[in-house]
């Protein structure tokens, strides 16, 4: 079973070939460079507009949605009246819209545009949808979440899609790989189905790092809600960490050449954590061979957290340091210290929101600290803490402070297998201008088994 899972993981996510694995980190095979066709910006923009037309017509003709009944009069009204905040559900605003935005962004990436060049396409696609694709007045929060979230998810999902297909530009991928990659990267699949076969996909999206890791945690989750007496509850939980590249070992070549995803689902609660961090820029401030390594890093972050203490989501950019401290040949410590600006965050609270919406929107600031003791490249003890401040500009007149923290202890039993105990702590403090403060805490404990899959683990310290 273990070998089967490992083989499946390697088959899905491994770089194109053994040859690719021996190449420099994030290098691109020469043949794919030779096949790289010129970029087509207008076609990239057109792809986003086509997505809007298809989605609008599907909503109108198939789902019979009234909001999709657009006319020139509705377009003019939307242009004349301008932005408002909408009252959509949390999951719609914080996940569905970013996924929609990833289609616009990847319209650029699969037409030869770089990460930076594809950013305007996410904005153009989102702006045109908000003004021309719906009868509703354009929603500012949708515009921000679709654009910025679409950039983050688009780049991550596009790279995952390329890793699943394992097809060099111009060559077909097996059908089953295309089907698995489809939900991650529909635009890439469309490009391949319509004859493009990835010839114009930007080379950085086709590149893969030497090292990536998929680590699964499964077990029991015990939670408590301090607002409710006898609220202790047990559920089954599964948590996944996917690390693509290594912040210190993968030289910076392009945005998102290193990224990390953490997702968690539990019985009865569904998805209640999805956090993604992608490196936008990295600069080593110590030598590659130094005993202790430090790197100045700029990351883009996407976060979605859902538990009784807080539903929090947001798009942010963080700046800070990734460090690795070598203690011995097998033992080391990794640390991260980052400060971030929240471009737009969303957080719920009992008195938050407006109309049917029960959460606030606002920009903010935050800090994140993390320390991991590693044994032969595998984490044994991890501690992390994060605080986010959100100033509401839509909803209640409030300032929200959200804290997340945790301590994770894992005992390696075999090379890829371990058992452990994790604790997590969620806390929210909401300060209102016209009513008492409101606080809520939500601790959890996880008893888990871990399974580390992938073709390589991160380099030992």
């Amino acid at each position: 079973m273990r070998r089967l899972a490992l083989a499946a993981c390697c088959a899905l996510l491994a770089p194109h070939s053994a040859r690719a694995q021996r190449q420099p980190v994030d290098a691109v095979p020469e043949d794919s460079l030779a096949l790289q066709a010129p970029s087509r910006a207008l076609r990239g923009i057109g792809t986003g507009l086509l997505v809007n037309v298809v989605v609008n017509r599907f909503d109108r003709w198939v789902l019979r949605e009234d909001f999709a009944r657009v006319t020139p009069a509705s377009w003019w009204r939307n242009l004349r009246l301008g932005w408002e905040w909408d009252e959509n559900q949390f999951g719609t605003n914080m996940f569905a819209h970013p996924y929609h935005g990833s289609l616009y962004f990847n319209g650029g990436r699969h037409n030869g545009l770089s990460y930076w060049e594809s950013i305007p396409l996410a904005f153009i696609g989102s702006w045109t949808w908000e003004h021309l694709g719906e009868r509703h007045r354009p929603s500012l929060n949708d515009f921000v979440m679709t654009s910025f979230g679409g950039i983050a998810l688009g780049e991550i999902f596009g790279r995952i899609g390329a890793g699943i297909r394992q097809a060099a530009p111009g060559t077909p991928a097996p059908l089953w790989r295309e089907l698995v990659a489809l939900p991650f990267d529909p635009i890439g699949s469309l490009d391949r189905l319509t004859g493009g076969r990835g010839r114009r996909t930007h080379r950085t999206m086709m590149a893969h790092p030497d090292a990536f890791m998929l680590r699964t945690y499964t077990g029991m989750r015990i939670t408590g809600d301090r607002e409710v007496s006898d609220s202790s509850a047990r559920s089954l939980t599964a948590l996944i960490d996917f690390l693509y590249g290594d912040p210190l070992d993968t030289p910076y070549t392009a945005p998102f050449d290193v990224f990390a995803i953490r997702g968690q689902v539990s019985s009865g609660g569904g998805l209640h954590q999805l956090r993604a961090t992608g490196r936008l820029y990295g600069r080593n401030i110590t030598r590659q061979t130094a005993r202790h390594r430090h790197q100045l890093t700029v990351n883009q972050r996407f976060e979605y957290i859902d538990n009784p203490a807080q539903r929090y989501g947001g798009q942010s950019v963080e700046v800070g340091f990734n460090s690795r401290w070598r203690l011995s040949n097998t033992l080391g410590v990794r640390t991260q210290a980052f400060g971030n600006a929240i471009l737009l965050g969303a957080i719920d609270a009992p008195d938050a929101g407006v109309g049917e919406r029960d959460y606030d929107f606002g920009p903010g600031l935050g800090v994140r600290l993390e320390g991991v003791l590693e044994l032969r490249g595998l984490p044994v003890i991890a501690a992390y803490a994060q605080t986010e401040y959100v100033r509401s500009v839509s909803g209640a007149t409030a300032d929200h402070l959200a804290h997340f923290g945790g301590f994770e202890f894992t005992v390696p039993v075999a090379r890829d297998f371990g058992i452990g105990i994790h604790t997590g702590y969620f806390n929210r403090l909401s300060r209102y201008s016209d009513r008492p403060d409101q606080r809520r805490e939500y601790p959890e404990v996880r008893l888990i088994s871990t399974w580390t899959l992938g073709n390589t683990v991160r380099n030992a310290p």
């Binding site: 910006a41 932005w83 905040w85 770089s114 305007p120 471009l343 606002g362 920009p363």
Partner: protein, 202 residues
Amino acid sequence: MTIRRFGPVFLALALLGWATGAEAQQRQRTRLWIELGGGPGVGLISCANCDRVISTAGASSNFRIGGVLSEKVLLGFDNFTFVNRAFGLDDEEGNIVAETSTAALSVLWFPGQSGFFAKGGVGVAYGNFTVDAVDSEPLVASEVGLGLTFGIGYDHPLSRRLSLTFNAGALVAAIGDIVLRTGRVDDVIASLYQFTVGITVR
């Protein structure tokens, strides 16, 4: 900065630019560059549960400084301001001077070899509303929030280090609640559509 005051200057520079532009090099923004411009703007102010959207014209200006990320992509820092003296957030309020300002980190994308570019950015917005009153001190309401900017532009070279820059863009300032004498105005969003002409120096 008003159109009446600087309009003739911009017009003269525009004509001069077209006369000399053919001989100048196309890429104007290399390494460090600075852009300063001004022009008319149309402002919209909307709020939650408001019956209507207020729109009015005013003067706007922009200052941008930045560097180069790649051959086609630039990173800049934008500052926009917009002033209007006749806003009426509430019918019962008096004359209102509305000032919005946004400081944003922007990406400029030059898709081709010409000077045409698209831009987008995000940053901090500041809104200041001064309400005149006959029998009391003016009321000043200020808020800080989310600022966005996006639009298109064109660099027309005048010389090796100078270009004339045309911008058509939108600036959105989401500044939250504004407290006036007659009550709280919820979830204010100020949108500015501006058309500016300026000078870019590198």
